[in-house]
């Protein structure tokens, strides 16, 4: 893990247990910047949802891949960035799920991200997916 003045980043393997280190990073980042519980929960849940999707569905092979997670404290907001070399996938293109379906079981990760964060941007360049999620500091 490298630490800059207003930015921290880490790389994790594409395995679900590795997400725990990102959750710990978010906790220490929020504590260091005295960010609210609301912001901590928004960042933690959004990163959990996005990383779970990438690790569970983003790769065509079973090999090891590295995923970059960066947290940046910006004027008036916090940005969480994820970069991965998985399959091209724009999470913002996912059709909205029916929240009142009687047989609902799961698959609501994107719904949580778009409701918890103020701005979500996706791009893909040179085979790298880049998801940037921003939350205003209020």
């Amino acid at each position: 893990m490298t630490v800059a003045t207003h930015q921290v980043e880490t790389r994790i393997q594409n395995r679900i247990p590795a997400i725990a280190s990102v959750a710990d990073l978010v906790s220490s980042f929020c504590a260091a910047h005295k960010l609210s519980q609301q912001l901590l929960v928004a960042l933690s849940v959004s990163l959990d949802e996005a990383l779970n999707n990438i690790i569970s569905y983003g790769y065509s092979d079973a090999g090891d891949h590295s995923i970059l997670v960066r947290l940046a404290y910006e004027p008036g907001s916090v940005a969480a960035t994820i970069e991965d070399d998985g399959n091209f996938f724009d999470p913002l293109s996912v059709k909205r799920r029916d929240l009142h379906s009687p047989d609902r079981v799961g698959g609501y990760g994107i719904h949580f991200i778009t409701n918890l964060m103020d701005d979500v941007q996706y791009g893909c360049q040179h085979g790298i997916n880049r998801l940037v999620m921003r939350k205003r500091i209020v």
């Binding site: 997400i19 959750a23 609301q38 959990d48 949802e49 779970n52 929240l99 799961g106 949580f112």
Partner: protein, 111 residues
């Protein structure tokens, strides 16, 4: 993840602590499944000590709710406030569970 457990007659109260996320959801679900398979069909899950729950955790709650119904048992949730309540609101989960303010209320409703 840490989970406290208390038994009140036929009712079992489970209090998970910390995060219920992609990493811990499986363990959380397996713990509840074991209780149901052991014949503990009256469950109160007290969420007062969790910091947040992601969709992986909600999925486990929905599975436990379904299994409890299949076994003619009852499931009550309690201790939901602050940011955790906000997550329930965002996911529109409030109508899918019996939710009570405290574990005492949950136990009383299941008796």
């Amino acid at each position: 993840m840490e989970m406290l457990e208390q038994v009140f007659g036929s009712i079992t109260v489970v209090e998970p602590r910390g995060r219920i996320d992609s990493v811990t959801a499986k363990e959380f679900g397996e713990h509840l499944s074991k209780l149901l398979n052991a014949g503990r069909h009256q469950l109160v899950i007290d969420l007062k000590s969790i910091s947040y729950i992601s969709s992986a955790g909600f999925r486990q709650l929905l599975i436990v709710s379904k299994t409890t119904k299949e076994k003619n048992g009852k499931l009550a949730l309690c201790g939901i406030s602050g940011e955790v309540k906000r997550l329930f609101d965002i996911g529109a989960f409030n109508d899918l569970f019996f939710i009570y303010p405290t574990r005492e209320d949950g136990i009383a409703k299941l008796q």
